[in-house]
């Protein structure tokens, strides 16, 4: 058995090694066809070709160099555009001179034809831009020269910031996209030549190795709690291996969210799968979804073996494996193949924070009956499913049975559940943070909807686009992704769910105040051993309640049931019962000397 496990581990490491090596394996070669495909605006195309001439048809590696070169091209183009198209100080002086009426200054749009009389593209642009960005000045008079100047400079600044780059150069958003698509298209090398071979050498090898490592555990002794050596492990107790794993995960997420252009080789590798499923090439989030689902499935098998003495754990694990594979991964891709909107039927706002974004709403509204159904379904989940199901079953129906984040936490993250902080201080921080994120998510969505219905981009002086951008980067990517998963081996597997998830906060509020769910303690049987608290991934000090015979009613409890599983004395049980008595006084049974209220 040990031999098979060692082989499994070796295979996994080889596959994982090839996977990481493939990151550096390809070369990058830009050609005209690629540029024409991705930069369709012909003046910009020419500008790019001009600047890229040195790069053309050169094989460049590694990806870092190539991306650097491409970035430098965009920077040069933008620089040049700013140089040629900026409104210069002497031009402003001319405008002022032309606008002078005695002691005052009166600005008329027509002035511009005098300052920029030519028909060359630069003059034409400046004329147009100034009248677009400065038309609010038309006909206004100023008594003093400096005020007039500063207004004109303001217009010039706006043109520089918003006009020139988007019209004559490349804005940040476009650069981000182009860096990714150009790099992916320019990729040549072994992974492009035979992506399927690399699928075998990486994913298949890793899965096979993991299975050979995991499956023999079924022979590790009779079914029962298998926590031996966890706190002696370098992986599971923040040893060097845990820190290494955490660092790797954090880097992976940073690349995924902020620098996808560097991971194009990995995305090319899953292109065949994407083509097969949805009929088009893969993007970074296809890659992510694919790896995510595999992690849940493979580590789900581990979970099933580890907790095979507990039917609750087994049923729950199969549930998260199913919802991830079908609802989060396959169905949305198949919908795309059928020319329907991409939709995850189990994702709920505000975890699904872009559900109300205007582009999402427009897609749904314009997609006929199915789109409307999706919209209604999504809203029904928020307004009906959450309160009703939480009332009957607690928030666990979602957090540890359905949710994708929960699914990953309960499978890939299970080896790290003991690392959550159980201190009272951590609980305080948790309550502040998670509710702050909920408020943020709600405010952001209010702004987004305001913009959707009124067409106005700012609410009370704040740009609703800016808020959603900040939320997406800091909460959606930073907190949920980088911290949420990257910190598994450092702070436990539910960092996001506990401190950040706004949906968990919403579910938790219902669970705390209106639910039949609670964890019951069994009379006076608790021996204060601490297994329940230690293995609570949400950092609830379960023992505090158990040892005084008090029901555990906590908004954060995701109902994973592990406290009950690891309890050596059968003290804890997850129950849906009559609401009465849920908040009963702590009572320890067994001492008839007096009524013990611990």
């Amino acid at each position: 058995m040990k031999f098979i496990k060692t082989i499994g581990l070796a295979l996994f490491l080889v596959g994982f090694g090839i996977f990481n090596a493939s990151f550096f394996l390809n070369q990058f070669q830009l050609n005209e066809k690629i540029i024409h495909t991705y930069i369709t605006d012909s003046p910009k195309q020419n500008l790019f070709k001009e600047q890229a001439s040195a790069l053309m048809d050169q094989q460049i590696s590694p990806g870092f160099t190539f991306v650097g070169e491409v970035a430098a091209i965009f920077e040069a183009i933008n620089e040049e555009a700013l140089q040629s198209y900026s409104i210069k100080e002497d031009e402003i002086d001319k405008i002022i001179a032309n606008a002078r009426k005695g002691d005052a200054f009166s600005f008329q749009i027509q002035v511009l034809s005098e300052v920029y009389p030519g028909n060359d593209p630069v003059s034409a642009f400046k004329r147009k831009a100034f009248s677009d960005y400065g038309n609010w000045l038309d006909g206004r008079s100023f008594d003093d020269r400096e005020t007039f100047r500063s207004n004109l400079q303001n217009v010039a600044g706006n043109i520089k910031e918003y006009g020139i780059i988007s019209q004559k150069g490349f804005d940040t958003y476009t650069i981000k996209n182009l860096k990714y698509s150009l790099t992916k298209a320019a990729s040549i090398g072994p992974v492009n030549d035979n992506p399927v071979k690399y699928l075998w050498l990486t994913y298949v090898l890793c899965i096979a190795g993991a299975m050979l490592y995991i499956l023999p555990k079924i022979k590790d002794g009779p079914p029962g709690i298998k926590n031996n050596g966890i706190f002696h492990s370098a992986m599971k107790n923040v040893g060097w291996l845990g820190i290494l794993t955490g660092t790797y995960l954090i880097l992976f997420y940073i690349f995924l969210y902020f620098y996808p252009e560097y991971m194009t080789t990995w995305i090319i590798m899953v292109d065949p799968i994407s083509e097969f499923l949805k009929g088009s090439e893969a993007g970074r989030f296809f890659l992510y979804g694919f790896i995510y689902t595999l992690c849940i499935l493979v580590m789900g098998v581990r979970m099933l073996i580890k907790y095979r003495h507990s039917r609750y754990q087994m049923v729950r694990t199969v549930s998260v494996m199913f919802f991830q594979t079908a609802f989060a991964f396959l169905i949305p891709e198949i919908l795309l193949r059928l020319n329907q909107p991409y939709f995850d039927f189990k994702n709920i706002w505000p975890l699904d924070y872009d559900f109300f974004f205007d582009n999402e709403l427009s897609t749904l509204v314009s997609s006929g009956g199915l789109g409307i159904f999706m919209l209604v379904w999504g809203i029904a989940l928020i307004l009906i499913a959450v309160p009703v199901f939480v009332y009957f079953f607690g928030k666990r129906w979602y957090c540890s049975w359905v949710c994708g984040c929960g699914g990953l936490a309960e499978t890939l993250g299970d080896p790290y559940r003991q690392l959550s902080d159980k201190s009272l201080k951590a609980w305080r921080v948790e309550r502040i943070l998670i509710h702050a994120v909920l408020v943020f998510a709600v405010l952001m969505t209010v702004g987004v909807l305001y913009t959707y219905f009124t067409g106005t981009g700012s609410l009370m002086g704040i740009s609703t686009y800016k808020i959603r951008e900040v939320y997406g980067a800091w909460i959606g990517a930073g907190f949920a992704g980088v911290v949420g998963t990257g910190f598994y081996p450092l702070m436990g597997n539910r960092v996001w769910c506990r401190f950040g998830c706004p949906l968990a906060a919403y579910l938790g509020l219902v669970q705390r105040f209106k639910s039949r769910f609670r964890i019951t303690t069994n009379g006076g049987q608790c021996i204060s051993c601490g297994n329940c608290s230690t293995y609570c991934e949400m950092g609830i000090d379960v023992r505090w309640y158990a040892q005084r015979g008090q029901n555990i009613v906590r908004s954060s409890c995701v109902g994973c049931g592990v406290c009950s599983s690891v309890c050596p004395r059968g003290v804890l049980n997850l129950e849906n019962r009559d609401e009465n008595g849920r908040f009963g006084k702590p009572i320890l049974i067994g001492n008839d000397s007096f009524k013990v209220e611990a």
């Binding site: 002794g221 009779p222 079914p223 029962g224 709690i225 926590n227 031996n228 050596g229 966890i230 706190f231 002696h232 492990s233 003495h309 507990s310 039917r311 609750y312 087994m314 049923v315 003991q418 201190s423 009272l424 069994n522 009379g523 006076g524 049987q525 021996i527 204060s528 051993c529 601490g530 297994n531 608290s533 230690t534 023992r543 505090w544 040892q547 049931g561 009950s564 599983s565 690891v566 050596p568 004395r569 059968g570 049980n573 997850l574 320890l588 049974i589 067994g590 001492n591 008839d592 000397s593 007096f594 013990v596």
Partner: protein
Amino acid sequence: MKNIVIIGNGISGITAARHIRKMSKHKITVISAETDHFFSRTALMYVYMGHMRFDNIKPYENWFWKKNKIDLVRSYVSSIQTGDKMLVLDDGSTLNYDVLILAVGSKPNKFGWPGQDLKGVQGLYSFQDLESMQQYTENIERGVVVGGGLIGVEMAEMLLSRNIPVTFLVREESFWNVVLPREESEMINRHIREHHVDLRLSTELKEILPDENGRAQAVVTNHGEKISCQFVGLTAGVSPNIGFLKDSGIETQRGIMVDPFLLTNVPDVYAIGDCAQFREPLPNRRPVEQVWYTGRMMGEVVARTVCGKKTAYKPGVWFNSAKFFDIEYQTYGHVWSQLKENEEQFYWEHRDGKKCLKFVFDKASRKLLGVNAFGIRIRHEVLDQWLNEGRTIEFVLENLKKANFDPEFFKRHESEVIDLYNRQNAGANLNLVK
């Protein structure tokens, strides 16, 4: 305001301190030579096995004591001068008290075996025992555990968790059969062996042989067999830790003698937990009860008396629990290892041989007397109520679903149990209450 000193920071002493604090503003000092803070003694095994860190087995965070004005003193009390109401600590300093509560626990039994004080030979009771076990079991080839009780099986499990082969010497012909009836005891024998423990029943330790460094290197059994090992766990029970009371004037026999109010023969000196011995044992109870739960209850009771609400120790329906490797055990009421004259039993065992239920009831009145449950969790509240109300075996079986405390989706066995009862008892036609 009284000056209350508690010796011992185990479950009894700490429960007393907490309850005194809830009821009063008395000055409370807890003295322990063992550790700075209270920890769960029953959880020491999990630290060794790597399930938890030592910090995880401390039920209260370190700030708790200061916040609740419970002073902790790390010291060893070498003697008590009851006349002056004064304690002498091992550094020579003294401490006065108005009320003294002795919660000093016990120590592992050693029965004069040759070699019992060698290095690598020990019991498992204290934090120091845990440390020494960690030290003496590193890179060893075999451990021998002596004594067939709860700590013995725990120690075997601990050693196995570190892949150390274990030979388990049990004097009796079946594991813990002074407490467990035959069927249950045999179930645990099988389970211990399923875990590849070399279980030797009807085997006693004769002597432990030293190597040249004064460390255990083998044991010899009463059958003359020599078993090579580098660690020997002695788990043949524990005795109250009363050596330091010799000249204190506090009366002791096996333990510290107490009345129903846990008061010793000396005024204002109480004893609770493992170390207390009742002059008049309660019906069906032992004079010395060395169980977590009774220790806790005595702490709860003595706190009231000390705070002026004089309360006698009156435990309710007996209950206890344990875990033998993967099999959980709970017991309610009294199930003796042998049926008494007036008793009858009904026993159900699952076909996998790892779950069973035993019901003992009075022959004449059919009233339930006790239940043993293995591999099935039982609801304490319900059994406590049924035993207090004197429910009959028939009532209990028909309502068995109410007593189940297993997690959701677990396979339920109530109908199998009741079917078996109906088959075994001609004329019985019990129906399960849904």
